[in-house]
Symmetry: C2
Subunit: 449 residues, 2 copies
């Protein structure tokens, strides 16, 4: 009986749990699931023998040691900041670990010891990071095996809404941690273009978008991720001229978000004075110069950000309720926290809502002296507001990787990211059976991008 | 023989040293001056008995204890980050301390112990902070003694160039730490206007200026300081509707600086890739989107920031050399460090250059049911590039306060800021004998500001 411990059973774990349950009996797995609350799991687990759900507090060292001590593989879907703590305990007790999050320095430092102990700490094995690595590396390795050289690689991913559920003017709802969406892009984005290092400061980020088209799904705007450069070496693309990773939104979103950024509403660095006594309308006033003119607020915001009051951007901002006499209702709040509270109910998935994951890779490479272009795209649609495309594309790679690990098919040890064929080949192959399939297209002419 | 220890003998200490030397014999003071290098002081001190200059390393605990142990009053003109270390030793050895810098939390925490030991740690006793507090408090106390209520207080200070030495298109040269000028305003400026808290994010700061006029000296633009709010309570202005502190520049400076901010050139949060192999022209390119058009760099920058290429802003930016094939020549540099290296030689005081300090206070108050306005302004001109107005207005208040302390005329103990009459009255009175004199004007009609 192989014991799996899953820590974290939130929104993005639904499909992972179903995958693990559907495989448990065949493979003789015991599954234990710990989270702050697990009442929502009890009905589901009753139908499955050899499963257990329990209230888990990651900060409780005794419980952490007891539970991890009983497992063979630990999957952590907890918020990323808890992974070092979980990894430390896994290291001490000799347990494998799988997560869908970036490798933090604290876990990177565990590589030699994990390797010495024959442990696999498989990180970045979800959607982004995860599926992006795997699908890109399959193409990069294919080009390199033919003797080609990749000169340009752009990769964009977005968690969006399926066309049938895309019913608000931002064309966006939260399928991921809302706070991370509010704070997205803060810092300076760094990438390479035509052999030159490029930097985009946060205040310019959402006006520096690129437009893409996906057959059957229309247009998308992509903005640059903070770090496009650190994957050059892991991807084996050290000498590449252009490398850019980014995030997709529907057209209109970035332009309107830029208004919120320019006002200062995404700032998380200081607490507002007296937010409990403020309305959103008054909060917007706080970011504008005092005005003796009796112009409506919307017009003053428009003038401040240099747009017409009738522009689509201002319509989207107005739709959020920011211009309304709506109490913030928080005792303590940064501007970003106040904005999050406003947007959460407006961008909430409704029952039956279907989300959509879009991933796009654009390669340029030289092969036998010829310039070539290759695009690879993925669209995954959610089934409803629980079985989301997000939960599917994050959870399935984690689940499949866990299976490979338990079957002894994953032999790399230490801190591992799914860049090598022994990982990406079986995971991508099994994903295709779940409808997660990339479409590749060679282009001879100038790119449509 | 009263012993004074002066730590830090840099640019802003020249006038302070002269003041202390000119008073030493009359008052029977011994003056010891420690700094990283003091060779520039030796000739000057030779003419003065009972003085001593020595190489000083603030991190050397033994030397710190020995030197502070011999003094009665310690004046620290070291960079502000060293003040807690100096204050700690003063506290342990029972010595008074005078500085021209803001009270950091570490020193604030020493208040009870300093008070218990009968020590005076007089902080914020230079120009800004210092003279701004003293001159404002004299007016605030005067209004309050008459029974008036201050409803609005705006205060701006600038370290600029005297008209005869104002010979570059930015109308600015460094009379203060260049790094602090480059990083000025980062974070979010907070102030109050008409009873509303106002926030200005850094990317908007240099376009949110106010214009002021000073008789005989023309126009100035003021931008908000990061913190205008924390002085409400110390100033006794808790219920005030409008409170704004800021920095003055000559018209044109802020608008052009805004271009550098928008490009990302003042960012100090990350190191550039390969700055040793970059020119400033290439650095500017790094902040622009890749362009297939063969437009000149200046035109692309202008389009990016939404200004005509022929605008004054672009002329000022071009003047710095940013568009030139000029090597950065630094092995490691943030964008802000690269910009500092470019500007230091261009904004350097030339022999004979005279600087200028401008301070402006604007009060609105009610008295006997009437609305009143009062403005107070100060202009101090430097004598040359050494005896600067900056050195005078920073050094004299420190020197005078030290004299008061040694004469037993300053009896407040603990951590003290010069907000009370026993401090500001004698200091302001003696400053007038040095030509540092405010001009006050009551205004009945609408403010010219």
């Amino acid at each position: 009986m192989k014991k799996i411990l899953l820590l974290g059973a939130g929104r993005s774990a639904t499909v992972l749990i179903d995958y693990l349950l559907s495989n448990a009996q065949t493979h003789g797995w015991h599954l234990a699931i710990g989270d702050v609350t697990v009442t929502h799991l009890e009905a589901k687990l009753q139908q499955h023998p050899q499963t257990r759900a329990f209230a888990f507090d990651v900060q409780n060292q005794e419980q952490r040691i007891t539970e991890i001590g009983q497992a063979e593989v630990v999957i952590s879907m907890l918020p990323a900041q808890f992974h070092p703590l979980v990894a430390e305990t896994c290291l001490a007790l000799g347990k494998h670990l799988v997560t869908a999050s970036y490798v933090p320095p604290a876990i990177k430092a565990m590589h030699p010891e994990a390797q010495a102990k024959g442990l696999t700490f498989l990180m970045e094995c979800g959607l982004d990071p995860g599926l992006d690595h795997m699908s890109a590396m399959r193409i990069i390795h294919h080009i390199q095996r033919q003797g080609g050289t990749v000169t340009s690689f752009k990769s964009f991913t977005g968690g969006l809404m399926a066309p049938e559920s895309d019913n608000n003017p931002w064309h966006y709802k939260f399928t991921w941690n809302p706070r991370n969406v509010i704070l997205a892009g803060q810092g300076t984005a760094r990438y390479m273009e035509d052999g030159t290092y490029k930097y985009i400061p946060y205040p310019q980020l959402f006006r520096r978008t690129q437009t893409f088209q996906v057959d059957g799904f229309g247009f998308f705007d992509g903005y640059a991720n903070r770090d496009s450069l650190s994957y050059r070496e892991p991807y084996g693309l050290q000498g590449i001229d252009t490398m850019l990773r980014g995030t997709l939104r529907r057209p209109g979103y970035c332009q309107a978000w830029q208004v919120l950024v320019a006002l200062g509403l995404t700032d998380d660095s200081y607490p507002l004075e007296n937010p409990a006594h403020l309305t959103y309308r008054a909060l917007v006033e706080s970011f504008l110069p005092a005005s003796s003119a009796a112009l409506p607020l919307k017009e003053r915001v428009a003038a401040y950000v240099g747009l017409p009051a009738t522009s689509a951007e201002l319509q989207l901002v107005e739709w959020t309720g920011l211009f309304d006499e709506l109490p913030i209702g928080l005792e303590m709040a940064t501007p970003a926290q106040a904005l999050e509270k406003l947007l959460v109910p407006r961008w909430r998935l409704e029952p039956g809502d279907k989300d959509m994951i879009v991933m796009l890779h654009q390669f340029e490479y030289t092969l036998n002296g010829e310039q070539k272009k290759l695009t690879s795209s993925l669209v995954v649609l959610g089934e409803d507001e629980v079985q989301t495309a997000m939960a599917k594309t994050v959870g399935l790679p984690v689940g499949i990787a866990t299976r490979l690990l338990l079957e002894g098919k994953l032999t790399s040890t230490g801190v591992v990211v799914p860049l090598q064929p022994d990982l990406y080949e079986p995971i991508l192959a099994e994903l295709e059976t779940h409808g997660v399939q990339f479409t590749e297209r060679e282009e001879e002419s100038a790119s449509a991008f």
